[in-house]
Symmetry: C2
Subunit: 410 residues, 2 copies
């Protein structure tokens, strides 16, 4: 490697995305890259020629360690869908013009499904035009919904945060007794895929009963059956805790959160913006049963809770960043690095590269057989899958009682 590389971050924040950035930077430098540019706010920022030289920010090993512990996207992120090449060639010409000006040998994009779409289009354009820049995708999403990879960096840390927080919520909810019991409904991210919601099961163990019910978005949600289940649970325990996906839908396709409010906001990729599923279900239970209810949204805390990151996740994110640079250096393009699990116990996992055309815009859902028959909990297979991904800790570097992050003035 003797040219420059540029790296960008895209999509929602995670606790591990900056560890991948650290892996890209260190590996690029180790392999002889002259400059490592970071595009600010992904491809959208690059189109405005907003970028930095990462060596201005990562000056020593401590900075690398801080970057690995800094949540959200250090470079800033975007949700920007490139047009099809035949729809708007100009955008592509502009991007490649900037890449030429910066003498970019490899373009690494860290992101989820939508970001892999970007890698696919840019590498296609490069092939069509005979442009030498290589394009490699680095998986990242707390949603864990990318195809072909065993799991995605960012998921393990979010799962660890969710498992721990649910356990603390369960402890909290048993404290006070209410005449008709108390029902706590916790809303977890994941529009279509239940990987995050299912990780609520990690709270279960010798010292904790875990949530009583877990509802993933993969299955239609039956409101009446749900109400009966809750009523039944309250007859034998004083506190019921339920984990629900933000994306629960009735069998007629309506989102549960739509039942209580009007929804008119849609993001740039046409995704509906959801909120209020737990809120609606808590009101429903209060109305049907008359017990005390509480709704909790784990909100953005679950994706940016780097103080509780999984060591496996942070190290794999770093490794995946490094593997992306290595792949580009070895001539690959239009590929995404994937995690390849070799065994569950002992957990072993390596990296491979796969064709990004097979990944982009394909969503990996929780298999039906990884849920119980009733569809209101995950099965052992699910727990065996996720458990290795939350192992180990990355101690925050504490300064004056608060975790220190790597700072980029904005």
């Amino acid at each position: 490697m003797n040219g420059n590389i540029i790296v960008g971050q895209s999509g929602g924040p995670t606790a591990a995305i900056n560890s991948s950035l650290a892996g890209v930077y260190r590996t690029a430098k180790d392999r002889g890259a002259r400059k490592v540019f970071g595009m600010l706010h992904g491809i959208q920022g690059l189109l405005q020629e907003r970028y930095i030289d990462l060596s201005d920010y990562i000056k020593n090993d401590l900075d690398t360690e801080l970057l690995k512990r800094t949540p959200a996207a250090f470079l800033g992120s975007c949700r920007f869908k490139l047009p099809e090449i035949h729809e708007d060639r100009e955008v592509y010409e502009k991007i490649f013009g900037i890449l030429d000006k910066l003498d970019i040998e490899a373009f690494i994009y860290i992101g989820g499904n939508d970001s892999m779409d970007t890698i696919k289009k840019l590498s296609d354009y490069a092939i069509v035009t005979g442009h030498p820049t290589r394009f490699i995708g680095c998986p990242k999403t707390i949603d864990n919904d990318l195809a072909l990879t065993d799991h995605t960096p960012g998921y393990g840390s979010a799962a660890k945060y969710i498992g721990t927080s649910i356990k603390e919520i369960i402890r909290d909810s048993f404290c006070l007794e209410y005449e008709k019991g108390v029902v706590t409904i916790v809303e977890i991210m994941g529009r279509n895929a239940g990987w995050l919601t299912g990780s609520a099961s990690l709270s279960r163990g010798e010292d904790c009963c875990g949530p009583d019910l877990i509802y993933l978005p993969e299955l239609p949600f039956d409101l009446k059956k749900f109400g009966e289940k809750v009523k039944n649970l309250l007859s034998s325990k004083s506190s019921v805790v339920i984990a629900v996906s933000e994306g629960l839908r009735l069998s007629d396709g309506r989102y549960v959160c739509e039942l209580g409010q009007s929804l008119d906001f849609v993001d740039a990729f046409g995704h509906k913006q959801l909120s209020g599923t737990a809120n609606y279900l808590a009101s429903y239970v209060a109305g049907e049963i008359g017990c005390k209810t509480r709704s909790i949204e784990l909100s953005t805390l679950q994706r940016s809770g780097s103080h509780l990151a999984s060591r496996v996740d942070i190290l794999e994110a770093y490794q995946v960043g490094g593997a992306a640079v290595k792949a580009a250096d070895e001539g690959d393009s239009g590929k995404m690095v994937v995690l390849n699990r070799i065994s569950d116990d002992p957990y072993q996992c390596g990296t491979k590269v796969k064709d990004v055309h097979k990944i982009a815009n394909d969503e990996k859902l929780v298999p039906r057989k990884w849920m119980n028959e009733e569809g209101d909990y995950v099965a052992e297979e699910f727990i065996n899958y996720v458990r290795p991904l939350i192992q180990g800790d990355v101690s925050p570097i504490m300064v004056d009682g608060i975790p220190r992050h790597l700072f980029r003035p904005v």
Copy 2:
């Protein structure tokens, strides 16, 4: 000490209340107590003769360490207001009958304002009737609103959780750019006292700008001025993060959360149940400015987030539990243990006991001069006060990737 002691927990859960319980248990055993009973769900459970022998649960030093790291009330809690003695003598006769049956020498109650009211009434009754049992209160509340004590166990850990989470939310909120900016409003507990909301300022440091505005419930909230401040901030930055107390009120006394919804639920102490302040303000900002908004409630996570507990807090909670037993053993009754700060830097703090009559039902608020002139941030004095209380960590004892707690089957 050669009789038995009984200990109870009351009021809202915290991350440190069980460390006080551990301090009570260990000190009582060290001082020769025969049995240490734990009342289940406080005085309410005691009235139903629900109690356990704590030695059935705390069997060794590891159990003590786990108990110190277990959030919420290990014994269960209650919100139960004793009647005045002249109103209902029977309740008192019942309680003292149970204490006699169990041969109770000392009664320790870990809780907040309402719990100190219980200690006051029970010790008054003992004095009036010449009963020998001693009654000592152990302060506990994340709200930090107890009079006469420098601060309360539970507050430091909640403040550390809030400071850390706000910092992660700030990082998260800067990731994605929106045309008109993004405003994130974080709702923090504290009905009348702003100690918790003010601790959002702990996120500010060399690597973080901290929240842009902090609104405590001690001052009347001006909606119009707030809207203008936000608009002004958005002209110079892309992401604005605001910390607000759940208990914000307009100058006419109405709660901000009442503006958007009807409120009809009042708890046993006549406190209004609040929720939705951030939600209302986020809609207000979206309507006035048209920018993207997000509301986040830290909810029960802030009080039970023991995985991020402050070492100073956990050790002080333990110390306060021990001091309560010592006071009872030395003949004190009708007293509460208080924390007595000797210096800020280096931080030094000891314990004393004070007359519970001077504490019960009195609420300590944030002094006006600990806020800025505009009333939309805390002053340096506030930060100097809280900073020592969040120092140090109590590493969770991790088992298979999740913090382990001490388990009591319920």
